[in-house]
Structure formats: structure tokens, C-alpha cells
Amino acid sequence: MGIAKVWVFAEEEEGKATAATLELLTKAREVGDTVEAVAVGGDAASLAEAVGEHGATKLFTADPGDSPKGVIGGAVLAQLVEEHQPDLVLFAQSYDGRDALSGLSVKLDRPVLTNGTGIAVDPDTVKIEAAIFGGETIVTSTFKGDGPFLAAIKPKSFPAEPGGGGAAEVVSVDGFDAGRAGEAKLLDHHVEEREGPKLEEAPVVVSGGRGIGGAENYEPLVEELAKLLKGASGASRAIVDAGWVPYSKQVGQTGKTVKPKVYIAIGISGATQHMVGMKGSDFIIAVNKDGEAPIFSIADLGVVGDAQKVVPKLIEALKAKG
């Protein structure tokens, strides 16, 4: 048995429902009797098809105008929750998901559990699992008091599987009050060129850390290798903090969780902060000068060596193979 009604804050990117949205819906089907989705902006018809196929029977949609989707999402959800009384509202641990969750929690005065990697229902309590200490420990938490329960789940925590449903019924929502939050205006939208797959969806992820030697080496070592392997490039927190690459590249506890077929850690020592975000990879290759680095404790192939020497040769060898 599950809980009666589970909602998912549905997001889209580049005109498609995000993978995390579909993962959440798949899990929601397992724990809830009724699954519905709430989205802000985007193309309602195509989103209704995607969320419907993954188990949502209804899709509530609202137009954010020129305000950011996340903050409007919080206001829209607050209005809808009062009216429809879901038992559990799930968000992806994404930029907009976090904004919507934060706003909603205040409007409803309900606590949040975030960074979830698992959801269990037993029999009417919702349990959220999260990995801490570099993924070595799993902490399970529950909510006390009344619902709706609000949780953010890390992308890649569950597989996304279609349930064979038809398009969700679209219900347009208006009349929500975002207050001063709605005063934030989106002036411009910049898409940066990205070659290859997204970090969280790539079959191969190549990440760089301090051991690459400097910001100027990220492109020729990390990005070049990722490109040759048709993968995505990531980073340790250390080099994000140092300003070498943007936050969106960070893999780890406060960044992204990735589970590629092959993960290549270049010049990353393996702080617990990083390991929690990549230890679910199928095969891990690490190159690091320090033979005692913690990354070697989880690497399937560990190379004790200078990344700045090993990687250029690796790139040459891959190019030679064509």
C-alpha cells in the first residue's frame, strides 16, 4: 500500500521533461495511489504527454510570465496544495526545484527533507534516505506532524520507466499570488554551447581536480578527453571554489550525482564531498600523483601518476585510434 496522492514538481529543459522529473514520477507511481504533476511554463501539450507516460494523470500548469519558474512554482504550488491536499510533494534537487520547494515550505509552514536518494512508505509514514560522509552512511529521516510532506530528491536516484499511461489531463492555473517574489524578472536567457551529453546523463564523465595544475589545463585535459569519449566534463568542489569552472560542473555532495558507465577522475584526491557524487559509477578510473589519495580506495583502475603527463598521452592514443 502506498500513500494516497503524490505530486511531482515537473521541470523541462530544452523543450523536454527533465530526466529527474521522469525519475520522480516513476518512483511516485510506486509509492502513491494517485500521481499528479505541477509545472510552470513550458509547452503543456508535450509535457502532458511525457508526464502522463510516466504515471501522472493530471498536469497543473501555470504561466510564470517573465518571472523565474522556481519562485513562481512555490506560489502556484501553495495555492494548489490548499485546494487538492496532496500527501507528498516531490522536487528534483535542481536549481528551480530548490527555489520552488523553499517558497512552498514557508507558505505552508512545513519542513523539508532534501538531498534524498531513496523514498520508502511504511505504511503511511514517508521515509527519505540520504547519503552522507562520502556515501559511506545512509541516513533515513521521517516527517513529524501533518503533511503534506515536502522532499527534494537528487537526480539519478531512481531509473525513469514509462508506465504506459496516456497524456495527462492539463489543468491551467491562474490567480496565484507570488507577492514580492514575483517581482524578480528574467531579463535574458543565455545558452552556452555544449558539445556532447549533459553531465548527469553522459555514459562517460571526465572530472578534473586541483591535480590538473591550473584553470588553463581544464580545457586541454578534461574537456578534450571528455569530448573524445563522447562524454561530459565535471569537476571537484576544489576547482569550482577556486573559480576555474562554474558551479554547474561540480560533482559531489553539494553538486551533482553522476552514475556513468565510466567515470574518470583526473587529479582529484577524493574528498568525501566528491566521492558521494560519483561512487555509484559502474567503473571508476583515477589518475592522481598521491598514491595514498582516498580516490584509490574506490577506483577500479587507479593510476598513480602525474595527470599532466598521463592525460596528454591518453588523448594522443585515443586520437590515434580514431
Binding site: 514557508v106 519542513p111 541516513v139 574506490i298 587507479g302
Partner: protein, 260 residues
């Protein structure tokens, strides 16, 4: 322009973390230091106040045990003063309770036009405090900023997105959360360190803020940890020393994994 910066004093992340035996929450009883993530917020606030032609940067922090060493670090960087909410009743506070305390502390300072925070703390990393504080204050939240500009009563940011960035603007007062690494936190000078010792730290309790001890800490927390288990272990495989041919081993492994 007066800016408040939320700063957290946390257990040194370089040391192995442990959970408290009874509460199963992170053991924060040892020495606490300024969360590195917050050094960027302090630096940004100082730059914005300077660019706006003056105004004070005030730190807002919350701890159960009167710890101030992390605050002194941020004061030494140049913040003018701090509000420290320190109360035994705060231990065990969940994120929403924490946000309520911070929002009240910002109101207590008064005359704040901008609140700057990190995107999440390094120790608890719930990641909702910036948005919750903004919603409690009734101010716009501009989140995940990688660039911040203030002028003409408005704040404009470049907001990190998956695909690039968005330019988002709102009127002041507002709350901005910023990603790490986008400014270079200054090192405190010797003069700054000496001056920090005499900068005012306004120590307040939960009741000073008009909140009830029942609303915060264990008493007010509406979530609890029910189990703590070891995750399945992942062992190490082969480890080799590079003798000039390690790349060949990597190519072989990539072939075996069928990614090339």
C-alpha cells in the same frame, strides 16, 4: 547600502565527520570554523557595499554554543559587526526553523537592503535556507548567482542554469544566494585581524527575536532521523604506478568497458 551576510560556523570539513550518538545528527560539539562557502558571500557583500559608495556589512550567524571564531574570521575580512543568535534551544533546528531565526535576525539589524547567502552550507547542505529566508521576509529571492550587481535600487544577477545562465533582476530589498568561486575572498590583513577583536557581536537569544523556544531546535523540529546504516562498500580494483605507459592501461580498460 547595508548588506547582511549569512555565515555558518561548521566543524572543519577536512576532519572526518561523525554523528551524535543520541540524536544521530552531525556532531558539532568540537571546534567550529567559518564555512568556506560563506567566505564568498562576505567578499561579495564587501565589494557591493564598496561599489555602492558605503554602507555596512553585518554578519548573521546562529549556533547553540556561543562560538565566535568563525565570525572573527569574517569580521577580519572587513564586515563591520555581527548578530549571533546563540541559544541552547537552537540545537537540532531543522532548515525551516533556522530560516525563521535568520529572517528575524535580519529584521533585528534593520535597514538591510540585501541579504547574501551561499547556495548551501558545507555541513548540512539542505539548500533551502536562501529561498526560505526570502519568503519569510517577503522579499524576492535571486538564487545561484555567479555575478551580482547593485544599482538604482535594484539587484541584478547572472543566475547559473544547466544550459548557461539567466539574467535576473529585482528591486531591493532582496535575498541573493551565490555560488562559490565567483569572487576571490580576501585574506584578512593583520590590521583586520586586530580590528576584528573589537568589532561588536550582538549576542541574542531565541526569545530576544520574539520566537518561542518551542519553535526551534529539537522541540520545533518536524523531522527526525530514524535510522543510520552503512552503505554497501565499494572496493578498490587494480592500482598501478605510471611508468610512462599508464595511458595504455586506461585505453584497454575503456575498450573493455566498451566506451571506445
Amino acid at each position: 547600502m547595508n548588506v547582511a551576510v549569512c555565515v555558518k560556523q561548521i566543524p572543519d570539513p577536512a576532519m572526518p565527520g561523525k554523528l551524535d550518538d543520541d540524536s544521530k545528527t552531525l556532531d558539532r560539539s568540537g571546534k567550529l570554523i567559518l564555512d568556506d562557502s560563506d567566505a564568498y558571500g562576505v567578499e561579495m557583500a564587501l565589494q557591493l557595499a564598496e561599489a555602492a559608495g558605503g554602507g555596512e556589512v553585518t554578519l548573521v550567524s546562529m549556533v547553540p554554543n556561543e562560538e565566535v571564531s568563525g565570525l572573527r574570521t569574517a569580521l577580519a575580512m572587513g564586515a563591520a559587526k555581527a548578530v549571533l543568535v546563540s541559544d541552547d534551544a537552537l540545537a537540532g533546528s531543522d532548515a525551516l526553523s533556522t530560516a525563521k531565526v535568520i529572517a528575524k535576525a535580519v529584521e533585528r539589524i534593520g535597514d538591510i537592503e540585501l541579504v547574501v547567502t551561499a547556495t548551501e552550507s558545507t555541513d548540512g547542505y539542505t539548500g533551502t535556507i536562501p529561498g526560505q529566508v526570502a519568503a519569510l521576509l517577503g522579499w524576492p529571492a535571486l538564487t545561484f548567482a555567479r555575478k551580482v550587481e547593485v544599482g538604482d535600487g535594484k539587484v541584478k544577477i547572472e543566475r547559473q542554469t544547466e544550459a548557461g545562465y539567466d539574467v535576473v533582476e529585482a528591486s531591493l530589498p532582496a535575498v541573493v544566494s551565490m555560488t562559490a568561486g565567483v569572487v576571490e575572498p580576501r585574506y584578512p590583513s593583520f590590521k583586520g585581524i586586530m580590528a576584528a577583536k573589537n568589532k561588536p557581536v550582538d549576542k541574542v537569544t531565541v526569545s530576544d527575536l520574539g520566537l518561542s523556544a518551542d519553535d526551534v531546535g529539537w522541540a520545533g523540529a518536524r523531522q527526525e532521523i530514524v535510522s543510520v546504516e552503512a552503505a554497501p562498500e565499494r572496493g578498490a580494483g587494480e592500482k598501478i604506478e605510471d611508468e610512462g605507459d599508464a595511458h595504455e592501461k586506461i585505453v584497454a580498460a575503456l575498450e573493455k568497458q566498451k566506451v571506445i
